[in-house]
């Protein structure tokens, strides 16, 4: 049974969250769903929509935090047709499970967001790119898309206007790199999913060389409430000055109440951990956390009260990323944890470029040796220089993979060295 956490703050994306239930179209509608669509389609110009989204301060939830309106506005006015929307629900970033929660709570939030994005850039087709292990999410979406179609929200002549837009669910091949926006487009086109370095950006030349907007599903789900309630309302939802809206934080680790919480953007880490995630599990003390998924840098006790918004986390030396908060306790070996992540990244590298293809196995081997008592002091600078070098890769996977290793060396070099000195993992008894 899914445990539902009581959260007192305003619930926007999770307003229809109920134990073990998917909100129906009717429930979504009763909570204001599709009001934005009715309000906007055929009435607002794309520029008006973009302005509203721009004023709301909505930033991408897929990891990079890129302003949604900016991306949409970068579709050239004279760009070719048909145009496409790709909703990213690949969600392979370790520790991240918010997109799945969102789809299982209120699938129409994603669908309405996509239709609105489609209307804004004059797209005629949308793809929801779903991680294959999320088969249930894909099935839910397919079913609800059909319901939306029947209700006239999707398909030909939406709400009687001349705007037509339809959505297809695409099951990914199931590799981390497929979530990278340009690799995702290659995958959708049936090609090998390696990234394509911009320029041209997908908004200029995306699917089949047509303008294509790739957004994370959480980003898209924020669009209807913003259009319905206005940008100021959205900004006011946030906890911190300068940030906006709510955020789906996923908390994992040895905490009492792991899970996904919708909280005001900028809620402090300490509050997320103690109040919502129920604090550390008995017998475990807090040691560090990754604030935004596996490809972000460790933060430590020094950052215990950091406001979890894009700017504050960046100022603390990490990234908000996907908002997947992975908490580490004092009994967990961070070398082992980072080795685990590095194994993941090395396995998931697409192999396109030398630094990532050859460099990640190098990191993995060094970490493995350290963890297994074969480490040498010289490995520490070797790790450091290879991490630096990974920033020189073709796409963002490799720098992302280097980040937790860099964090390990930055904050826990002593713990690494302890492995080398003791010639064993000090956490293993």
């Amino acid at each position: 049974m899914t445990r539902v956490k009581l959260v007192e703050t305003p619930q926007v994306l999770f307003r229809n969250r109920r134990p073990n239930r998917i909100a129906t179209l009717e429930e979504y509608r009763q909570s204001g769903g599709y009001e934005a669509l009715v309000k906007v389609v055929g009435r607002w110009s794309p520029a008006e929509i973009c302005r509203c989204i721009d004023e709301s301060g909505l930033k991408g939830r897929g990891g990079a935090g890129f302003p949604a309106s900016k991306k949409w506005m970068s579709v050239p006015a004279d760009g070719a047709y048909p145009r496409y929307i790709a909703a990213n629900a690949d969600e392979m970033e370790p520790g991240t499970f918010k997109d799945r929660m969102l789809i299982h709570v209120d699938p129409h939030a994603v669908i309405e967001g996509m239709i609105l994005a489609g209307y804004t850039i004059s797209a005629s087709k949308g793809y929801i790119f779903v991680r294959p292990s999320y088969e249930s999410s894909a099935a839910i979406l397919e079913q609800e898309l059909e319901n939306a179609r029947r209700a006239g929200y999707l398909g030909e002549n939406i709400l009687g206007t001349d705007f037509s837009f339809d959505i297809v669910v695409h099951r990914s091949g199931g590799r981390y790199i497929c979530g990278e926006a340009t690799a995702l487009l290659n995958a959708l086109m049936g090609k090998r999913p390696n990234p394509i370095k911009p320029p041209p950006f997908p908004t200029v030349k995306g699917l089949w060389d047509r303008p294509t907007v790739v957004n994370n599903v959480e980003t898209l789900a924020n669009v209807p409430p913003i259009l319905r309630n206005g940008p100021q309302w959205y900004r006011n939802l946030a906890e911190t000055e300068g940030s906006a809206g709510t955020k789906l934080y996923c908390v994992s680790g040895r905490v009492n109440n792991p899970g996904c919480f919708e909280l005001p953007m900028g809620t402090r880490f300490s509050e997320i951990l103690e109040r919502y995630a129920g604090g550390m599990a008995p017998g475990y003390a807090f040691k560090a956390f990754l604030p935004g998924g596996a490809s972000t840098c460790f933060l430590t006790k020094a950052h215990y009260h950091v406001a979890m918004d894009f700017d504050a986390v960046a100022a603390a030396g990490s990234r908000l990323g996907t908002g997947a908060v992975i908490v580490f306790d004092d009994r967990t070996c961070l070398v082992a944890a980072v080795l685990n992540l590095t194994e993941f990244f090395a396995r998931e590298s697409c192999g396109w470029c030398t630094p990532c293809r050859e460099g990640l196995p190098y990191l993995r081997d060094l970490l493995w040796r350290i963890e297994h008592g074969e480490g040498k002091e010289a490995f520490i600078p070797m790790l450091r220089s290879m991490c630096k070098h990974l920033w020189n890769a073709y796409c963002a996977l490799a720098p992302g993979a280097a980040t937790p290793v860099e964090g390990l060396l930055k904050h826990f070099e002593d713990e690494v060295r302890e492995h080398i000195i003791q010639k064993r993992c000090p956490f293993k008894v």
């Binding site: 590298s349 697409c350 192999g351 470029c353 630094p355 050859e358 460099g359 070098h389």
Partner: protein, 771 residues
């Protein structure tokens, strides 16, 4: 042209907008290492060895020079500590999963990875990481040797196979560290559809895909590379022959000539064993009194040949001798051969292997266009809107046209391939018309009919640039699609679809390559080709041309320089008295006025006993006829057979005199490809034995028959021919650039890419009634 200025290592460079940093560095003479980048291939940005520092005030970043566009005011450091460190790391990573087998590796000395390891002084084992273990020599290909342990995943092979050959055999499989280069499903190359062009091996920077030949025997620094022109087919590819002492070890592409821009075909690359063959003729021979062939000096043989030919000429009359040439001679050699026939043996029975086709092409083009050769260039094919490929198994016989047709198809041009069987070209075709053998002409008529009746033709072009349209229309009325369907074995619907598809995107290119044993390609066929092209406004425009090719390596030059029974050099008809007078002025002897016979007619005349003497120059006529036995017994009846060749063959048995010649790679001189490109040949090997070039042998005979006719040198023979070939416009050997020159030679160095569109009423292109 917009330009931008940047600073590389403190040096100001001005470059065109949109240039990459690498291009800018090249311009400034600054070295930037590359691995995955190759100037002839699309960008990949995979290896990242080319990183340079992009200094932006107080911070800087590394960017890949091979792809990164120049910004105005950019500051670049190509060798800063940050850059060197990054490059060294790349090298360490690559070497950590590499066999580092340099001591026994075939690539050693010419390996790009090894060179970089040396430049950056990177040792192979700074770090012992994971290594792959693939099977060495994993493919049974007779040409390629595969050792993927040495692969650095630059993926040039994939791009070369796709971009140049269009065969798409190699692909990348697996992810991350386990990514590797493979054929589809790991099939052996041959089963995967490999066309043995060898491009992947040419472009592989290491020895992962290499040549089998020479492996373990030679080392790269022992090889001497010389570029010359391949005369296996009429494409005129420039190729580099890597030789060791007296042997050709391998052939690699050369990018200097626009004919092939680095590409080669299977024959050009791998069919060189005849050069090294033990069957090479190295000494002359002649029959003794007992009619046994005995070795002699080349001069003795020349004396004997001259005497024998003279005797036949004097006893059986001037038209009892024929001079037949192969297709791999130089322009100068064809010129001398026809001069020998006409001025010393007083006959017009002189021809070359593909003479009948070449003459038909010339006559059709002259009649329709007033321009007696291919009116466009090979490069037009890749720019075409639609392509129709007919005739030979193009990928093998006329490869440079074929790979360009595929390139056009990759760019979206509909590609129609007409061939009785599923040849490699059909796999990339939008439509394959499997017609009955020999029904090309009927098909063309059908296509013309469809395009006319459905009004799919370019009315503006027809109006502005052509005449005699009514003639065509009238003749087409008589054509019945049902009959065409019957003759070709296609359905009427297929013919209609093909006509519509071919007319759907203009300009269009029609590619036809002739085959030795197929004589459907005659003048009326070629005129129909032009009819079709004229209807589609596809003559004399970029991307639109009939591309009609004979099969001889230098068939074009043979025709241009007069090795045709009806034409003196410069296509001056032997029947025209002013033409003969002009020639007489140059030669001092007037050529005979009666047209001679093509090869096939000569063979018949031998059978009838009308031809008594035959001088074969680099031609084995048994390869030109379907019935070898019959010709063999006819040849046995000759009074005199002089065989001049580089290889010994069954013909030598029947010869009175055997003259040892050399292959085209041992020659100097010029050759002209199907697109009228005149290029220079360079000898890649020194002569061995008492052999001589065909030029010297023919010249020796000329001297013996009439000293006045002898040429002083290759250059003077070329200049002398130039007096008769006005399209050469006084061209001389020294003025021919490595990229060649396309006749008609104008004032510029490059010549004419294609004919000009007609200006006056009279010069308008002519339609011909379909026959």
């Amino acid at each position: 042209m917009a330009t931008g200025t940047l600073k590389i290592n403190g040096q100001e460079v001005e470059v065109e907008k949109g240039s990459t940093i690498l291009q800018a560095a090249e311009k400034a003479g600054i070295y930037v290492p590359v691995l995955c980048y190759h100037p002839l291939l699309p960008l990949e940005e995979a290896c990242r060895i080319c990183v340079v520092e992009d200094v932006r005030g107080d911070w800087s970043t590394l960017v890949a020079a091979c792809v990164y566009p120049v910004r105005n005011g950019m500051v670049i450091q190509t060798d800063s500590p940050m850059v060197i460190e990054a490059r060294k790391t790349i090298m360490e990573l690559l070497l950590s999963d590499h066999p580092n087998d340099c001591m026994t590796c075939y690539a050693t000395g010419s390996c790009e990875l090894q060179d970089l390891a040396h430049i950056y002084q990177v040792k192979s084992t700074k770090y012992e990481g994971a290594r792959h273990k693939y099977t060495v020599d994993s493919d049974p290909s007779p040409y390629l040797f595969i050792d993927m342990n040495k692969c650095i995943l630059c993926r040039r092979c994939i791009r070369a196979c796709h971009e140049i050959q269009g065969a798409d055999i190699w692909t990348k499989v697996g992810r991350g560290f386990d990514q590797r280069i493979s054929t589809a499903f790991g099939l052996p190359l041959a089963e995967a559809g490999c066309e043995d062009c060898g491009h992947c091996a040419d472009f592989c920077p290491v020895d992962a895909i290499g040549y089998r030949v020479g492996r373990g025997e030679v080392r790269s620094w022992q090889l001497k590379g010389t570029a010359t022109i391949c005369l296996h087919c009429p494409s005129g590819c420039r190729a580099q022959y890597d030789t060791l002492k007296d042997k050709v070890v391998r052939v690699v592409g050369n990018a200097e000539s626009p004919s092939n821009r680095g590409a080669l075909c299977k024959a050009g690359r791998f069919n060189f064993n005849f050069i090294n063959s033990p069957d090479r003729l190295r000494t002359a021979a002649m029959q003794n009194a007992q009619r046994e062939l005995v070795p002699c000096s080349t001069d003795e043989a020349l004396d004997a040949a001259a005497a024998a030919l003279q005797k036949v000429r004097d006893s059986h009359g001037v038209n009892s001798i024929a001079v037949l040439c192969g297709s791999m001679l130089t322009n100068e050699e064809y010129y001398l051969a026809q001069k020998l026939a006409r001025c010393a043996l007083f006959t017009n029975h002189v021809d070359n292997a593909s003479g009948a086709w070449q003459q038909a092409i010339h006559e059709a083009m002259s009649a329709s266009l007033g321009f007696g050769a291919m009116p466009g260039s090979l490069q037009d094919i890749e720019r075409a809107g639609a392509v129709l490929v007919m005739g030979s198994n193009t990928i093998e016989k006329h490869a440079m046209a074929a790979i360009r047709a595929r390139k056009a198809a990759r760019g979206g041009a509909p590609l129609i391939v007409v061939h009785p069987s599923p040849v490699p070209m059909t796999k990339t075709a939008n439509m394959h018309l499997a017609i009955k053998a020999g029904s090309e002409s009927a098909l063309l008529q059908g296509l013309i009919k469809v395009i006319l009746t459905e009004e799919l033709y370019d009315k503006a072009f027809v109006e502005k640039c052509t005449q005699d349209f009514a003639k065509l229309e009238r003749s087409v009325q008589k054509i019945n699609l049902g009959d065409v369907a019957e003759k070709t074995g296609l359905s009427e619907e297929q013919i209609r679809d093909a006509g519509r598809l071919y007319a759907s995107r203009r300009p269009a290119c029609l590619v036809h390559g002739a085959e030795p044993l197929d004589n459907t390609a005659n003048e009326s066929f070629y005129r129909n080709c032009v009819n079709l092209q004229l209807l589609l406004g596809s003559v004399g425009v970029p991307g639109g041309t009939p591309c009609l090719m004979g099969f001889g390596g230098n068939g074009q030059g043979a025709g241009d320089f007069g090795a045709l029974p009806k034409y003196l050099p410069g296509y001056r008809p032997v029947t025209s008295s002013p033409a003969r007078k002009t020639a007489a002025k140059v030669w001092g002897v007037s050529p005979p006025d009666k047209p001679g016979m093509h090869c096939s007619k000569v063979f018949e005349a031998i059978e009838r006993g009308e031809i008594k003497g035959l001088y074969l120059i680099g031609l084995n006529p048994l390869e030109l006829v379907p019935n070898k036995k019959r010709l063999e017994s006819a040849l046995a009846r000759l009074d005199v057979l002089v065989v001049q060749d580089c290889l010994s063959s069954e013909l030598c048995e029947a010869a009175q005199v055997v003259l040892p010649a050399v292959t085209f790679v041992e020659k100097r001189g010029t050759a002209t490809n199907c697109e009228r490109r005149i290029q220079r040949l360079q000898p890649v090997l020194a002569l061995q034995g008492d052999v001589r070039s065909d030029f010297d042998l023919i010249n020796g005979l000329l001297g013996r028959l009439d000293g006045e006719l002898q040429a002083d040198s290759l250059e003077s023979a070329f200049a002398e021919a130039g007096q008769l070939i006005s399209d050469l416009n006084g061209l001389s050997h020294e003025t021919i650039a490595p990229e060649g020159v396309q006749w008609p030679v104008g004032d510029g160095p490059a010549g004419a890419e294609r004919i000009a569109l007609p200006e006056g009423e009279k010069s308008k292109f002519k339609f011909a009634a379909v026959k």
